[in-house]
Subunit: 225 residues, 2 copies
Amino acid sequence: MKDGPDISKIATLIGDPARSNMLLVLMDGRALTASELASAAGITKQTASFHLARLLDGALLAREIQGRHHYFRLDNADVGHAIEALLGIAQNRTGKRTRTGPKEPALRKARICYDHLAGELGVLVYDRMCAQRWLEGAGNETFVTPKGWVALKRIGITKPDPTKSRRPQCKTCLDWSARRHHLSGVMGQHLLKQFFELGWAQRLPKTRIIKFSNKGEASFRNWLN
Amino acid sequence: MKDGPDISKIATLIGDPARSNMLLVLMDGRALTASELASAAGITKQTASFHLARLLDGALLAREIQGRHHYFRLDNADVGHAIEALLGIAQNRTGKRTRTGPKEPALRKARICYDHLAGELGVLVYDRMCAQRWLEGAGNETFVTPKGWVALKRIGITKPDPTKSRRPQCKTCLDWSARRHHLSGVMGQHLLKQFFELGWAQRLPKTRIIKFSNKGEASFRNWLN
DNA sequence: TTTATGGTTCGACTATGATCGAACTATGAA
DNA sequence: TTCATAGTTCGATCATAGTCGAACCATAAA
């Protein structure tokens, strides 16, 4: 009677079509920007912002601000669990079964995350670079070591003039599908661009999938040892 | 985009405070009447009827009409599962833990279901009466056998004048907590009344719990062999 | 039959909340 | 600095949906 568990408030949050569409898109674990979510839900930026604020307030989503991009993801596993339970009722009602898209594994392996590499291979880059002391520090205070610059030069990335920009070159970004961090920021952007220019990988149109060729992935893994 | 899984419709159904209150009350598995649900949710009969129709349409509730009483219960386990998942988010948000009431086991053992005995002991009555051929038939076509009337007479229930009423004396009622049928209808009502008059059991005030005394339960089980 | 009660339907009122145009803020690039 | 873009805030509009009074239907008891 009084307040109790606010089940109705949470259900109301999920109940709006625009919001449920956003949540469903996020069900695969990705973190998407507000604009991406807006187009996924078929609404304007303003409306999306309105809804995202409510979802944040209700602790259904978490926001990670990286530059001018605001990434939204499901706040915790409980949220995903509840949505799956609701999906269970819905599919029981229609008799249909959910079929997971065939592109899902490819997305988890390598995908573009705004401008850098995410997924298993993205996490691999970060792990290997840290393990070999090419990177030091953590979070937004991550720097490339001299040893790292040597390695980067091998694939054509040169150390920029330190007088031009004092901004940190590296940032880390939590990778939902792997639950670990990968490299983003300017360095992440440069790395991905270089993978493309080296012909190691290309982006599949209309999706976020990054497809490494067999030869490209071999060179990629070789570079990281 | 088009229709997809109607997760938002289902969430909207749960999202209304009146409806979520009803659903929460039904979470223990009982089947309650529209009026009981109305008072539980703090709304009028008309409003409750409006909401219950929507919950029926959405297949969240099932209705079983017995006489002028309409009993509502959760339609299937998936519904309960989804509500529990939503409760999980809600309690995580406030940091509180749900504590299952201590009255829960007592409710499952024996409770009043409108006017007759439900719960484990209610199911036991029906099972034993069927097993000993005191009852024949099923559903709303259940009748007391001659052998049954002998047994009933032992606890003071006599066969009514068959000319007075041609209505079936017995009905069965699905017991949610046990997932099996128990005896309702006029016979169920008479039986429970007799249990009270014999001093075997009494009703705990303010709850639906029926408390059998140790001696009463022994006599009860003895009567049923 | 009459009377009482449980439940639904109808109609009108009301409030909440979703939506978008427009203006504003913040970050990044040149 | 200026320009472009991502995101939020404000304000006004509009529709949906919850609410209850009143009337109606169905069942049961007397």
